[in-house]
Amino acid sequence: MKKYSSGISFNLISRQKLLELSSEEKLKFILKEVKKGKILVLEYGLTPMEQTNLIEDTMKEIEQDTFIGVEMEGYGQDSPTFFQKLFGVGKRPRMTLIGPADLLHMVKKDNNMIQTKIIPGHGAK
Protein backbone atom coordinates (compact mmCIF):
# COMPACT_ATOMS: atom_id res chain seq x y z
CA MET A 1 0.00 0.00 0.00
CA LYS A 2 1.09 3.60 -0.56
CA LYS A 3 2.28 5.23 2.64
CA TYR A 4 2.77 8.92 3.21
CA SER A 5 3.55 10.61 6.47
CA SER A 6 2.86 14.23 5.57
CA GLY A 7 -0.92 14.28 5.59
CA ILE A 8 -3.95 13.19 3.72
CA SER A 9 -5.53 14.94 0.78
CA PHE A 10 -9.19 15.79 1.23
CA ASN A 11 -10.81 17.28 -1.88
CA LEU A 12 -14.24 18.87 -2.06
CA ILE A 13 -15.58 18.53 -5.59
CA SER A 14 -18.11 21.17 -6.52
CA ARG A 15 -21.56 20.46 -7.83
CA GLN A 16 -20.72 22.47 -10.95
CA LYS A 17 -17.66 20.36 -11.79
CA LEU A 18 -19.66 17.15 -11.30
CA LEU A 19 -22.57 18.33 -13.42
CA GLU A 20 -20.18 19.17 -16.26
CA LEU A 21 -19.06 15.55 -16.46
CA SER A 22 -20.92 12.65 -18.02
CA SER A 23 -21.54 9.64 -15.78
CA GLU A 24 -18.66 7.78 -17.36
CA GLU A 25 -16.28 10.74 -17.00
CA LYS A 26 -17.36 11.24 -13.41
CA LEU A 27 -16.66 7.62 -12.46
CA LYS A 28 -13.28 7.68 -14.23
CA PHE A 29 -12.36 10.89 -12.43
CA ILE A 30 -13.41 9.53 -9.03
CA LEU A 31 -11.58 6.24 -9.40
CA LYS A 32 -8.44 7.94 -10.70
CA GLU A 33 -8.33 10.28 -7.70
CA VAL A 34 -9.20 7.60 -5.16
CA LYS A 35 -6.54 5.28 -6.56
CA LYS A 36 -4.02 8.06 -5.90
CA GLY A 37 -5.07 7.87 -2.25
CA LYS A 38 -7.32 10.94 -2.13
CA ILE A 39 -10.55 11.31 -0.20
CA LEU A 40 -13.25 13.08 -2.16
CA VAL A 41 -16.30 14.89 -0.87
CA LEU A 42 -18.77 15.19 -3.72
CA GLU A 43 -21.06 18.16 -3.25
CA TYR A 44 -23.52 16.52 -5.63
CA GLY A 45 -23.30 12.76 -5.17
CA LEU A 46 -23.88 9.86 -7.49
CA THR A 47 -27.20 8.43 -8.59
CA PRO A 48 -27.89 4.83 -7.52
CA MET A 49 -27.08 3.65 -11.05
CA GLU A 50 -23.77 5.53 -10.97
CA GLN A 51 -22.99 4.09 -7.55
CA THR A 52 -23.60 0.59 -8.87
CA ASN A 53 -21.40 1.29 -11.88
CA LEU A 54 -18.71 2.65 -9.57
CA ILE A 55 -18.76 -0.60 -7.59
CA GLU A 56 -18.46 -2.56 -10.83
CA ASP A 57 -15.60 -0.37 -12.11
CA THR A 58 -13.87 -0.57 -8.73
CA MET A 59 -13.91 -4.36 -8.84
CA LYS A 60 -12.25 -4.26 -12.26
CA GLU A 61 -9.54 -1.94 -10.92
CA ILE A 62 -8.65 -3.82 -7.75
CA GLU A 63 -4.95 -4.61 -7.53
CA GLN A 64 -4.39 -6.83 -4.56
CA ASP A 65 -1.22 -5.18 -3.25
CA THR A 66 -2.02 -1.54 -4.01
CA PHE A 67 -5.78 -0.93 -4.29
CA ILE A 68 -8.39 -2.93 -2.37
CA GLY A 69 -11.45 -0.90 -3.27
CA VAL A 70 -13.40 2.13 -2.13
CA GLU A 71 -15.29 3.26 0.90
CA MET A 72 -18.30 5.26 -0.20
CA GLU A 73 -20.79 6.85 2.16
CA GLY A 74 -23.77 9.04 1.50
CA TYR A 75 -27.50 9.21 1.95
CA GLY A 76 -30.25 8.14 -0.43
CA GLN A 77 -31.50 10.62 -2.95
CA ASP A 78 -33.54 13.67 -1.99
CA SER A 79 -37.14 13.26 -3.08
CA PRO A 80 -38.64 16.29 -4.82
CA THR A 81 -41.57 18.12 -3.27
CA PHE A 82 -44.98 18.06 -4.94
CA PHE A 83 -44.34 21.43 -6.62
CA GLN A 84 -40.84 20.43 -7.75
CA LYS A 85 -42.36 17.33 -9.36
CA LEU A 86 -44.78 19.57 -11.24
CA PHE A 87 -41.80 21.35 -12.77
CA GLY A 88 -40.10 18.10 -13.72
CA VAL A 89 -37.54 18.00 -10.90
CA GLY A 90 -36.54 14.40 -10.19
CA LYS A 91 -34.71 12.78 -7.30
CA ARG A 92 -31.39 14.44 -6.56
CA PRO A 93 -28.23 12.78 -5.25
CA ARG A 94 -26.87 14.10 -1.97
CA MET A 95 -23.38 14.82 -0.70
CA THR A 96 -21.18 11.72 -0.80
CA LEU A 97 -17.81 10.82 0.67
CA ILE A 98 -15.55 8.48 -1.29
CA GLY A 99 -12.04 7.31 -0.49
CA PRO A 100 -9.67 4.36 -0.67
CA ALA A 101 -10.94 1.48 1.48
CA ASP A 102 -7.58 1.08 3.23
CA LEU A 103 -7.66 4.73 4.31
CA LEU A 104 -11.28 5.64 4.97
CA HIS A 105 -13.44 3.55 7.30
CA MET A 106 -17.09 4.00 8.14
CA VAL A 107 -17.69 3.87 11.88
CA LYS A 108 -21.40 4.52 12.16
CA LYS A 109 -24.17 5.71 9.93
CA ASP A 110 -27.77 6.54 10.69
CA ASN A 111 -30.42 8.89 9.38
CA ASN A 112 -28.68 11.92 10.90
CA MET A 113 -24.97 11.32 10.81
CA ILE A 114 -22.23 9.48 8.97
CA GLN A 115 -19.20 8.95 11.16
CA THR A 116 -15.97 7.90 9.49
CA LYS A 117 -12.36 7.59 10.54
CA ILE A 118 -9.16 7.89 8.60
CA ILE A 119 -6.49 5.29 9.14
CA PRO A 120 -3.17 7.17 9.37
CA GLY A 121 -0.29 5.98 7.27
CA HIS A 122 -2.16 5.52 4.00
CA GLY A 123 -3.33 7.84 1.30
CA ALA A 124 -1.99 10.66 -0.81
CA LYS A 125 -0.42 13.92 0.18
Binding site: P48, M49, I55, Q64, Y75, M106, N111
Partner: protein, 218 residues
Protein backbone atom coordinates in the same frame (compact mmCIF):
# COMPACT_ATOMS: atom_id res chain seq x y z
CA UNK B 1 -57.74 -18.90 -36.95
CA UNK B 2 -58.88 -18.31 -33.40
CA UNK B 3 -59.94 -15.02 -31.91
CA UNK B 4 -56.64 -14.71 -30.07
CA UNK B 5 -53.15 -15.50 -31.29
CA UNK B 6 -51.41 -18.32 -29.49
CA UNK B 7 -50.40 -17.17 -26.02
CA UNK B 8 -52.10 -13.79 -26.20
CA UNK B 9 -55.06 -14.80 -24.00
CA UNK B 10 -52.78 -15.99 -21.24
CA UNK B 11 -50.77 -12.77 -21.61
CA UNK B 12 -53.93 -10.71 -21.19
CA UNK B 13 -55.02 -12.71 -18.14
CA UNK B 14 -51.56 -12.34 -16.68
CA UNK B 15 -51.69 -8.59 -17.19
CA UNK B 16 -55.01 -8.43 -15.39
CA UNK B 17 -54.41 -10.88 -12.58
CA UNK B 18 -50.68 -10.66 -12.10
CA UNK B 19 -47.60 -12.76 -12.77
CA UNK B 20 -47.38 -16.53 -12.72
CA UNK B 21 -43.64 -16.67 -13.24
CA UNK B 22 -40.85 -14.38 -12.04
CA UNK B 23 -37.08 -14.40 -11.94
CA UNK B 24 -36.07 -13.50 -8.40
CA UNK B 25 -32.52 -12.51 -7.44
CA UNK B 26 -31.26 -13.06 -3.91
CA UNK B 27 -28.99 -10.10 -3.23
CA UNK B 28 -27.09 -8.59 -0.35
CA UNK B 29 -23.64 -7.95 1.09
CA UNK B 30 -21.32 -10.91 1.76
CA UNK B 31 -22.05 -13.18 4.74
CA UNK B 32 -25.65 -12.16 5.38
CA UNK B 33 -27.00 -15.65 4.61
CA UNK B 34 -28.05 -15.44 0.96
CA UNK B 35 -27.10 -19.01 0.10
CA UNK B 36 -28.50 -20.30 3.40
CA UNK B 37 -31.79 -18.68 2.45
CA UNK B 38 -31.62 -19.99 -1.12
CA UNK B 39 -31.00 -23.48 0.31
CA UNK B 40 -33.94 -23.04 2.71
CA UNK B 41 -36.30 -22.05 -0.12
CA UNK B 42 -35.17 -24.87 -2.37
CA UNK B 43 -35.20 -27.47 0.40
CA UNK B 44 -38.76 -26.46 1.35
CA UNK B 45 -40.14 -26.43 -2.21
CA UNK B 46 -37.99 -28.79 -4.27
CA UNK B 47 -36.04 -30.90 -1.77
CA UNK B 48 -32.80 -29.69 -3.37
CA UNK B 49 -30.14 -27.17 -2.28
CA UNK B 50 -28.42 -24.31 -4.10
CA UNK B 51 -24.83 -24.39 -2.85
CA UNK B 52 -22.36 -24.62 0.00
CA UNK B 53 -22.25 -22.10 2.84
CA UNK B 54 -19.30 -20.93 4.90
CA UNK B 55 -18.45 -18.40 7.57
CA UNK B 56 -15.75 -17.07 5.24
CA UNK B 57 -17.12 -14.15 3.20
CA UNK B 58 -17.52 -14.48 -0.57
CA UNK B 59 -18.17 -18.24 -0.43
CA UNK B 60 -20.54 -17.81 -3.39
CA UNK B 61 -18.43 -16.36 -6.18
CA UNK B 62 -20.54 -17.34 -9.16
CA UNK B 63 -24.28 -16.83 -9.51
CA UNK B 64 -26.31 -20.03 -9.26
CA UNK B 65 -29.90 -20.47 -10.22
CA UNK B 66 -32.73 -22.93 -10.07
CA UNK B 67 -35.60 -22.71 -12.52
CA UNK B 68 -39.32 -23.15 -11.97
CA UNK B 69 -39.50 -23.34 -8.20
CA UNK B 70 -43.20 -23.37 -7.36
CA UNK B 71 -43.95 -21.45 -4.18
CA UNK B 72 -47.47 -21.68 -2.82
CA UNK B 73 -49.13 -19.49 -0.22
CA UNK B 74 -52.38 -21.45 0.08
CA UNK B 75 -54.49 -19.18 -2.13
CA UNK B 76 -52.17 -18.72 -5.08
CA UNK B 77 -48.78 -19.79 -6.31
CA UNK B 78 -45.89 -18.39 -8.25
CA UNK B 79 -43.22 -20.14 -10.29
CA UNK B 80 -39.87 -18.55 -9.62
CA UNK B 81 -36.42 -18.83 -11.08
CA UNK B 82 -34.31 -18.31 -7.98
CA UNK B 83 -30.91 -16.71 -8.58
CA UNK B 84 -28.41 -16.83 -5.72
CA UNK B 85 -25.90 -14.06 -6.38
CA UNK B 86 -22.41 -13.42 -4.96
CA UNK B 87 -22.25 -10.82 -2.19
CA UNK B 88 -21.86 -7.23 -3.30
CA UNK B 89 -19.15 -5.13 -1.66
CA UNK B 90 -17.15 -2.03 -2.46
CA UNK B 91 -13.85 -3.57 -1.40
CA UNK B 92 -12.12 -6.94 -1.36
CA UNK B 93 -8.88 -7.33 0.60
CA UNK B 94 -7.15 -10.68 0.35
CA UNK B 95 -5.43 -10.00 3.68
CA UNK B 96 -8.81 -10.27 5.44
CA UNK B 97 -9.04 -13.89 4.30
CA UNK B 98 -5.53 -14.56 5.64
CA UNK B 99 -5.69 -12.67 8.92
CA UNK B 100 -9.27 -13.40 9.95
CA UNK B 101 -9.92 -16.79 8.41
CA UNK B 102 -6.45 -18.31 8.20
CA UNK B 103 -6.31 -18.92 4.47
CA UNK B 104 -2.90 -19.22 2.83
CA UNK B 105 -1.69 -16.24 0.81
CA UNK B 106 -2.25 -17.97 -2.51
CA UNK B 107 -5.69 -19.20 -1.51
CA UNK B 108 -6.62 -15.75 -0.16
CA UNK B 109 -5.52 -14.02 -3.35
CA UNK B 110 -7.41 -16.48 -5.51
CA UNK B 111 -10.54 -16.07 -3.42
CA UNK B 112 -10.23 -12.27 -3.55
CA UNK B 113 -9.84 -12.30 -7.33
CA UNK B 114 -12.87 -14.55 -7.76
CA UNK B 115 -14.82 -12.39 -5.30
CA UNK B 116 -14.26 -9.27 -7.43
CA UNK B 117 -15.52 -11.17 -10.47
CA UNK B 118 -18.50 -12.36 -8.44
CA UNK B 119 -19.49 -8.80 -7.53
CA UNK B 120 -19.41 -7.83 -11.21
CA UNK B 121 -21.50 -10.86 -12.11
CA UNK B 122 -24.07 -10.07 -9.40
CA UNK B 123 -24.44 -6.52 -10.72
CA UNK B 124 -24.86 -7.77 -14.29
CA UNK B 125 -27.69 -10.07 -13.17
CA UNK B 126 -29.69 -7.00 -12.09
CA UNK B 127 -30.47 -6.42 -15.77
CA UNK B 128 -32.53 -9.56 -16.19
CA UNK B 129 -34.51 -10.08 -13.01
CA UNK B 130 -38.11 -9.33 -12.08
CA UNK B 131 -37.70 -8.85 -8.35
CA UNK B 132 -35.19 -8.97 -5.53
CA UNK B 133 -35.09 -10.70 -2.22
CA UNK B 134 -32.61 -8.43 -0.44
CA UNK B 135 -31.04 -10.23 2.48
CA UNK B 136 -29.77 -8.16 5.40
CA UNK B 137 -28.16 -9.28 8.62
CA UNK B 138 -30.47 -8.15 11.41
CA UNK B 139 -27.60 -8.23 13.91
CA UNK B 140 -25.72 -5.56 11.94
CA UNK B 141 -26.15 -1.86 11.21
CA UNK B 142 -28.54 -1.75 8.21
CA UNK B 143 -27.29 1.61 6.86
CA UNK B 144 -24.41 0.19 4.87
CA UNK B 145 -23.63 1.79 1.56
CA UNK B 146 -24.11 -1.53 -0.21
CA UNK B 147 -27.67 -1.82 1.14
CA UNK B 148 -28.41 1.82 0.27
CA UNK B 149 -26.91 1.45 -3.22
CA UNK B 150 -28.73 -1.78 -4.04
CA UNK B 151 -32.05 -0.38 -2.82
CA UNK B 152 -31.57 2.87 -4.75
CA UNK B 153 -30.73 0.93 -7.89
CA UNK B 154 -33.80 -1.30 -7.59
CA UNK B 155 -36.06 1.68 -6.87
CA UNK B 156 -34.70 3.42 -9.97
CA UNK B 157 -35.60 0.33 -12.01
CA UNK B 158 -38.97 0.05 -10.27
CA UNK B 159 -38.26 -3.56 -9.35
CA UNK B 160 -40.15 -5.03 -6.40
CA UNK B 161 -37.95 -5.59 -3.36
CA UNK B 162 -38.62 -7.73 -0.35
CA UNK B 163 -36.18 -7.39 2.53
CA UNK B 164 -35.40 -10.56 4.45
CA UNK B 165 -34.15 -9.54 7.90
CA UNK B 166 -32.06 -12.64 8.46
CA UNK B 167 -30.41 -14.17 11.54
CA UNK B 168 -33.26 -13.43 13.95
CA UNK B 169 -32.30 -16.62 15.79
CA UNK B 170 -29.35 -14.65 17.17
CA UNK B 171 -29.77 -12.83 20.45
CA UNK B 172 -28.42 -9.49 19.23
CA UNK B 173 -30.72 -9.32 16.19
CA UNK B 174 -32.95 -6.29 15.79
CA UNK B 175 -35.35 -6.63 12.84
CA UNK B 176 -37.23 -3.58 14.13
CA UNK B 177 -34.17 -1.42 13.42
CA UNK B 178 -34.18 -2.71 9.89
CA UNK B 179 -37.88 -2.04 9.46
CA UNK B 180 -37.51 1.53 10.63
CA UNK B 181 -34.47 2.04 8.37
CA UNK B 182 -36.32 1.06 5.19
CA UNK B 183 -40.02 1.74 5.81
CA UNK B 184 -40.78 1.97 2.08
CA UNK B 185 -40.23 -1.77 1.57
CA UNK B 186 -41.78 -4.88 3.13
CA UNK B 187 -39.46 -6.44 5.70
CA UNK B 188 -39.88 -10.06 6.83
CA UNK B 189 -37.83 -11.19 9.85
CA UNK B 190 -36.54 -14.72 9.31
CA UNK B 191 -33.95 -17.24 10.29
CA UNK B 192 -32.79 -18.94 7.13
CA UNK B 193 -30.77 -21.29 9.32
CA UNK B 194 -33.66 -22.60 11.45
CA UNK B 195 -36.52 -21.83 9.05
CA UNK B 196 -38.25 -19.63 11.60
CA UNK B 197 -40.95 -17.47 9.96
CA UNK B 198 -40.20 -18.86 6.49
CA UNK B 199 -43.94 -19.46 5.90
CA UNK B 200 -44.52 -15.74 6.30
CA UNK B 201 -41.67 -15.07 3.85
CA UNK B 202 -43.17 -17.38 1.22
CA UNK B 203 -46.63 -15.82 1.55
CA UNK B 204 -45.13 -12.36 1.12
CA UNK B 205 -42.98 -13.49 -1.81
CA UNK B 206 -45.97 -14.84 -3.73
CA UNK B 207 -48.10 -11.75 -3.14
CA UNK B 208 -45.32 -9.20 -3.61
CA UNK B 209 -43.50 -10.68 -6.60
CA UNK B 210 -46.71 -11.82 -8.26
CA UNK B 211 -47.98 -8.27 -8.66
CA UNK B 212 -48.10 -6.77 -12.09
CA UNK B 213 -45.55 -4.01 -12.41
CA UNK B 214 -43.98 -2.12 -15.24
CA UNK B 215 -40.19 -2.08 -15.40
CA UNK B 216 -38.51 1.25 -15.90
CA UNK B 217 -35.98 1.61 -18.62
CA UNK B 218 -32.54 2.75 -17.50
Amino acid sequence: MGLFKKGSLSAILQKIFGKKHAKIGIYGPPNVGKTTLANRILRDWTGDIMGSVSEIPHETRRAKWKRDVKVDNGNSSLFMDIVDTPGISTKVDFKDFMNTYGLSKDEAKRRAKEATEGVIEAIKWLEGIDGVLLVMDSTQDPFTQVNVTILGNLEARNLPVLIAANKIDMEESSPATLKSAFPQHPVVPISALTGYNSDNLYTTMVSHFGKRRRKKRR
